[in-house]
Each structure stands twice: as structure tokens, then as C-alpha cells.
């Protein structure tokens, strides 16, 4: 049988061999006492470098699209789009990390964590102190990306769990382009 894969190996493999990715996700936000304060779900697509799309479906519709140059956030219920340039760095948003390219070690100190509910975990602590989050933990099951946890300076945890994921699928290029719908306010952030 294959040698048990460490979290670090799975992280390397994800960044070197997985150039596009799609999955359903469920997201839960836990407050600093780790009690859940919000749950949401939807679908995401990723393509290296710096392209991703998070479509939140429940409890409300929100589209977050990184088209390689800019980050668009469209809140359907509130009828507003915000847009800002992507700094391109891996430090932009933890979600950008998954779509990033380049050496992780330049931006993070990386540490394997112990096995936890049959997943191998790694911890990435940003080297820049103003990144807005304390650290990121990524869990892999049988070498496949399973959980992304972002812990911010208040100890609030945003935990995203991926299901029915596909590695290196062919993704329509227009999936990562965004055009604000008619009549919706577009604001710069």
C-alpha cells in the first residue's frame, strides 16, 4: 500500500499537481468559544494562478470571483458589487492561497500537525503580521484537500469543508470572468 502521506506531502502535491479544482463546500464560522455563528454552502472553482470563484447559495446568494487581476464580490440580495485589485500575492485572502502559485515558504511558516479525524493537517502561519489572520490549517484525507480553516486575530474560525471535489477538471474560462449585472451598483473597495 502507498506509504502514509504526510500533510506536507499532500500540500506539496496540491500546489504542484492540482492546477484546477472544483468542489461543493459547506462553510461554518465559529466564534472564539468555537460555537457556530453562521453556516453557508455553495460551489467553488479554482484555477492557478489567482483565479477562483466561490458561489454561496445558502443562506443567501453571494458570488466571489477572482479573475486573475481583480476580486469581485456580488451580494445578490443586497444588489451591490464591490471590486478591488488582487495584490496577486499568496497573502491576499486565504482562498487565494488555494489558487496561488509560487513558494509557500516565502509567505508562510509551515508546520505539520498531528492526525485528526482521519485527516493529515498542516498549519501555515503568515510571515506578514498584517495579513488579518493568525493562521491557516489545511486538512487532507487520503492526500486529497478536505478542510480549510482560517483563524483570525479574534480567534474566530472560518472552516470550509470540501465535498465531491474534482482535481484538474476542464473549467470554462468564463467561469472566472465577472460582469456586473444591469442596474447593480459597483463600488471600489
Amino acid at each position: 500500500a502507498e506509504a502514509p502521506r504526510s500533510g506536507i506531502d499532500s500540500l506539496r502535491r496540491f500546489f504542484s499537481e492540482v492546477n484546477s479544482y472544483s468542489a461543493r463546500f459547506t462553510q461554518v464560522v465559529l466564534d472564539e468559544r468555537l460555537s457556530p455563528i453562521q453556516e453557508s454552502s455553495g460551489t467553488l472553482w479554482i484555477e492557478r494562478p489567482n483565479k477562483f470563484r466561490w458561489d454561496y447559495e445558502k443562506p443567501y446568494k453571494q458570488r466571489i470571483v477572482a479573475d486573475g487581476e481583480r476580486l469581485w464580490v456580488y451580494d445578490v440580495g443586497l444588489q451591490q458589487v464591490s471590486v478591488r485589485p488582487l495584490s496577486g500575492g499568496l497573502n491576499d485572502t486565504p482562498a487565494m492561497l488555494l489558487a496561488g502559485r509560487g513558494r509557500l515558504e516565502d509567505n508562510f511558516t509551515i508546520k505539520p500537525l498531528s492526525m485528526q479525524n482521519d485527516s493529515e493537517w498542516v498549519q501555515l502561519s503568515p510571515r506578514r503580521k498584517d495579513s488579518g489572520y493568525e493562521d491557516i490549517r489545511i486538512g487532507f484525507a487520503q492526500g486529497k484537500l478536505r478542510v480549510l480553516e482560517m483563524v483570525d486575530g479574534f480567534g474566530q474560525v472560518t472552516r470550509v469543508t470540501f465535498q465531491s471535489s474534482r482535481e484538474n477538471p476542464r473549467i470554462e474560462p468564463n467561469r472566472f470572468s465577472f460582469t456586473p449585472p444591469e442596474g447593480v451598483d459597483v463600488v471600489g473597495e
Binding site: I64, V73, G132, M150, G153, F154, Q156
Partner: protein, 193 residues
Amino acid sequence: CATAPLPPAADLDPVWQARQAALVSVTAWQLRGRLALRAADQGGHATLSWKRDGERHRMDFTGPLGRGHLRLTQDSQGAELRDADRRVWRAADAGRLLYRATGWIVPLDGLNYWVLGLPAPGPVANLQLDEQGRLKRLLQSGWDIQFLEYTRHGAFDLPSKMYITRQDRHADGNPAEGEILEVRLSIEQWTLP
């Protein structure tokens, strides 16, 4: 011929009176929702978790994908704002503090009452009710507050969608060129004692 009865002036509407009296006593609550802010062509999105207990308020603003978390707390002593990089600002007034740190103009003092569907204490320029005797539109302290949707929570109908704008006006009431400020608030969850 009998003219149609004039709609009862708000202050005579018994349903509205009873509703106001009941809501005014609710001084501990928690709401969770989403906020979109706009000033001319600048703005942003945030989820909002707001916990009030009498004089004490705690508001958590979190940006998309869990980024840019800001915590604003206020009590009788004053207000404090903390960001996710542990920076701290302090001031007497929460609204001014939020503006200084983020550039967002959010009428917190008014919102504290408006989110319950109540006018804030003090003068009211204009007030319109819907057929169920609930606030439909309110002009107060320079803000125009529209209550677009209500949802039932226990004994109360509470606002679930609000559209708040401020157009700086000249004394004669004509809009000044200054930017239009806009706050769109969707409230998904209420927790009442």
C-alpha cells in the same frame, strides 16, 4: 359626499402606539445579517453580528471569506474598535470611531433603534406606516430609512431588509452635490430574550 377618512396620523394609530410601547422595552437582543455600504463609488460588504445588552453593544463586522474582521464595542464609558491584527482604537462615540478607522459612515446611534423598527429618540422629520401599523419609511437626523421587509420573531414583526440613505441637502431641501451615502442591511437572524 363623505370623503375617504384621512389615514390616521401616525401618532394616533393605536396599533403603532402599542407596537412602539412594546418594542421600546426590548433593550437586549442579538441580530445577524449582511451590510453593503456605499459612498459615491466606494464601498464594501460585511456580515454583521450585533449584540446589545442595555448600554453595552458588541458589533462584529467580517468581510467576505472571513477577512477583515472588525469588532466595535461600546458601553457607557465609550467605544473601542479592534481589528484582526490586534490594533485598537478608542473614542467616546462608536460612529465617529468606525468612520475614523474605516472611512465608513454608519449612523450607529440611529440604527440602534431603526433595526427594531423604531424611530430613535429626538425629532422625526417624516414617518410613514404600512397597513399593519409598522414603520414603512422614516426621515430622521438627515437619514432616509426605508423598511422594505419584516419577518416574524416571537411576539414581534422585526425588519429584515432596510435601505438607508443620506443625501446632504441645502437648507432649502434641494440635494447638495455631496455624495449619496447608502447602507443596505439584510437581517437574517434575531435573538430576543
